[in-house]
Assembly symmetry: C2
Homo-oligomer: 134 residues x 2
């Protein structure tokens, strides 16, 4: 089967929300860092699978957003996973540089510690079981 | 500062959607497995932080859903992260048994391979850099 078949097989299972979007989580395939959560439309899924360059739907700009086109911090698709309910996507990617527009490796760098919201080092985005191993 | 301060510090930064919910991604803290994506209300965040038992908002049942109460597959909160835009949460958890209601470790077990949607083994939920290391 070809790429078109792949896409049909996937799109047939995806339950897009009323806004036509589904949440997508990007994870660095080897280190396991959860890099970001963004949104995908059917069109952005098509673009991602055909180009292997992760392409989201920007809810603020209301347009396709191919990650890295402006920042240079591209996300290359390694594997795509759909969840059991078909309403969330996990993107296993190879992220060039920081995924966050604030130049942090992961967007999830604010933790709740000792009663305050604090920023944690990029190293804490790597699961303890993978630290120092990749 | 106490728990109440922690909660205020967090809730002040969280941008809930029009439906009063924010997407939350659960990741096993050591292996790095992305287990599931669900939704949290301010009330479920309060319950999660006060009990350290991850508690979501069930959009289908329209009620609080403390993970594991019926299945026994509890999620214990290890760390909570908020993303740079304040509109997504990453929960680092210790997951007892399978996170998925289909008895799979992760809900994200369907991959797109060779033109078809196929289920992958639980072992593939572990990032390559952490496999066999935890």
């Amino acid at each position: 089967m070809g790429a078109a078949d792949s896409l049909d097989a996937l799109l047939a299972r995806v339950k897009f929300g009323a806004d036509g979007l589904v949440p997508a989580v990007a994870q660095q395939h080897d280190t396991g860092e959860v890099l970001m959560l963004a949104w995908m439309s059917a069109e952005s899924l098509r673009a991602t699978l055909s180009s292997r360059r992760v392409t989201y739907w920007s809810r603020s700009r209301k347009s396709l957003w191919r990650k890295g086109d402006t920042s240079g911090h591209e996300q290359h698709l390694v594997d795509l996973r759909l969840d059991c309910d078909g309403d969330a996507i996990l993107l296993l990617v190879d992220q060039a540089g920081p995924a966050c527009h604030l130049e942090r490796r992961s967007c999830f760098f604010t933790a709740l510690r000792d009663g305050a919201a604090v920023d944690v080092p990029d190293a804490e985005a790597v699961p303890t079981g993978a630290r120092g191993r990749t």
